[in-house]
Symmetry: C2
Subunit: 344 residues, 2 copies
DNA sequence: AAGCCTTGATCAAACGATTGAGCATCGATT
DNA sequence: AATCGATGCTCAATCGTTTGATCAAGGCTT
């Protein structure tokens, strides 16, 4: 790996001259001749600025950490794409970190920032961790932006239009004639679950439908928890005819559990899940979902942390373009009570 | 963020003394008293060594890059866990990079190593990239280890027992009485597909079964390609009664396609997929799979790159402990031709 | 022709950590 | 009592970049 002084030696100039030319500083004041000579030598020696030296001098790494609960969750695919794309445009790199559980994560984050490895962090908290668990970190001097959750003392956040997402799902089911609609939600304390609950309630209200409290579960977003929700609902004397499942992974577990319980989807139960993934498309029946702007969530999050780092600006954004969109597949059907076939 | 000199000042000693104490060098030669004083001050000031400074001085970052084709693939979950766990033990950090397509990756890797951000790379190539595409990088001075693929000029590799994995699947199906067994494999040029193909053939041979070449497809590991394979096989006049699908994700797509084609699983077609994931468990019917030692693959890969970095040792390893294990679920059934029920 | 910009470069001091070499101090040896 | 070898610490150079300060050499003004 060649250094500035290698180039300087070979081009017969000083190190500073080389540095100024290659870092493209506008204050350069170099003759066109030497500029060209330096650039040629740099190319020839395949020069790349040493990351550590630059970071040390500038006390800035141009790296942000993205911490998510579970990297392999298909939901994060688009999110990460958005973050990385925006990062590339801003000349930043993304350091992916996953959050195994509360302690390791706090420790990992502390290490990342304490050792000066990153300029800022993007954190999406999972079920096992509340934003408060991170307060020690977020209160610190590290620029941070919360993805899809908020805190009172706003540290900066970018969230999805969760209310609208849930509302889109409800409206679809209402349009199919359902009235006994349930909600399989995330854990009660999580931010997105709260917003999805609100959107659900609002949409039900504006459709003139009553909410049956026993039709609402708040057990979590993962497949196991989806299965548990299905069991709970199946045990009911009177059951919902349709379900809004707040997360596609939970919906997959719920769907599998419905099969083992002998509940037919969509004939006996309509399901619409929030978030669209390839797994939804390949489920049986293929799941009707509400696609959320995850890519844009990622992009916006990255620009938000950038603004925070460079200008100290703190923003709280809702990503609403494009809006949540229904992806119609085969897990929803008209409610039998009002089906024309009933009258034949 | 406090520095060594902050501590030195507050403890009334020189920077070197602090450095020696905190880096726990055995050559330290410090009195117990000053050692304690320094440690106390360091704790009080919440000292963390500056990453950039250390990396610059030691020309070593203690970071390795892990590049995988698709981070959100559930298969990599265990792999990554293994890598990270081993890394933590060795005091290394893992920088996750994903491989979008050929060019960006080569560029990304070049950047990572060229700028000295990482000490080595762990690369798992995907379908879109052959190991040869990376030759420019692998030939270079960067320590690298290939995960689940090999090259003639061995640069170091750690692979799964793919032959045995495929064989376990075949033996299960043979045990159920199947003889018309097909293989839905990965792309022909990929290393793991070749090994799985060999294992399949060997197991068929030792069961005394003939392989019908038209029962073998090599379209790839993803769900779409699995669907395509199902279409191809469904179009056959004579069809296989059982399928070894070389990848769960392909199996999921294949399963969904089977449903739309009206092929019943497992009654009309038995399926066993390689790799066990939560998606297999939540499919319908739940997929019988062969669990491969992915966690151990990760651990072994990390120790291999470590040995490469520290000692220059190049190894080619097959991870065979624990061995591939059948996870019996509901996507396989006895072959009807020899079912006892036929003779009732 | 003396003084003064402008241009095009170089000097040198950081950034924070590591580490070989050097230097007191002190108890023990001859 | 002079010497020696530990012991316990400090000095200072170094890693590769960046950047304010400096400086030489012309070209302009007056």
């Amino acid at each position: 790996m060649s250094t500035l002084s290698d180039i300087a030696a070979q081009a017969g100039v000083s190190v500073s001259a080389v540095s100024r030319v290659l870092s493209k500083a506008p204050s350069s004041r170099v003759s066109e001749a030497t500029r060209r000579r330096i650039e040629d030598v740099a190319r020839e020696l395949d020069y790349h600025p040493n990351f550590a030296a630059r970071a040390l001098k500038l006390s800035r790494t141009n790296v942000v950490a993205l911490v998510v609960p579970d990297l392999t969750n298909a939901i994060f695919s688009e999110l990460m794409r958005g973050v990385e794309e925006a990062a590339a445009e801003l000349d930043y790199m993304v350091l992916l970190a996953r959050e195994e559980s509360v302690r390791p994560t706090a420790a990992t984050i502390a290490k990342l920032v304490g050792e000066g490895r990153v300029d800022g962090i993007l954190v999406q908290v999972g079920d096992d961790m509340t934003v408060d668990d991170l307060s020690g970190i977020l209160d610190g001097a590290v620029p941070a932006v919360l993805i899809n959750s908020r805190r009172d003392d706003h540290v900066g956040s970018v969230v999805l239009p969760d209310e609208e997402g849930a509302a889109v799902a409800v409206r679809h089911l209402v349009g199919l004639g359902h009235s006994a609609i349930g909600l399989v939600n995330g854990l009660p304390h999580t931010d997105s679950a709260i917003r999805r609950g609100i959107g659900f309630a609002a949409a039900m209200a504006s459709a003139g439908l009553a909410i049956n409290p026993v039709f609402i579960t708040s057990l979590g977003y993962n497949p196991q928890q989806g299965r548990a929700a299905m069991q709970t609902l199946a045990a009911l004397a009177e059951r919902p005819t349709a379900l809004v499942v707040a997360n596609v992974n939970a919906a997959l577990g719920l769907l599998a559990e419905a099969r083992t319980l002998g509940i037919r989807v969509p004939d006996g139960l309509s399901i619409v899940a929030i978030h669209d993934t390839w797994t939804a498309e390949n489920a049986w029946p293929p799941l009707t979902t509400v696609r959320m702007p995850l890519y844009e969530l990622g992009k916006r999050s990255m620009t938000a942390i950038f603004d925070r780092i460079r200008a100290g600006a703190t923003v709280d954004v809702v990503v609403d373009d494009p809006p949540p969109e229904l992806v119609l597949r085969e897990s929803t059907a008209p409610d039998r009570q009002i089906e024309p076939t009933n009258y034949e």
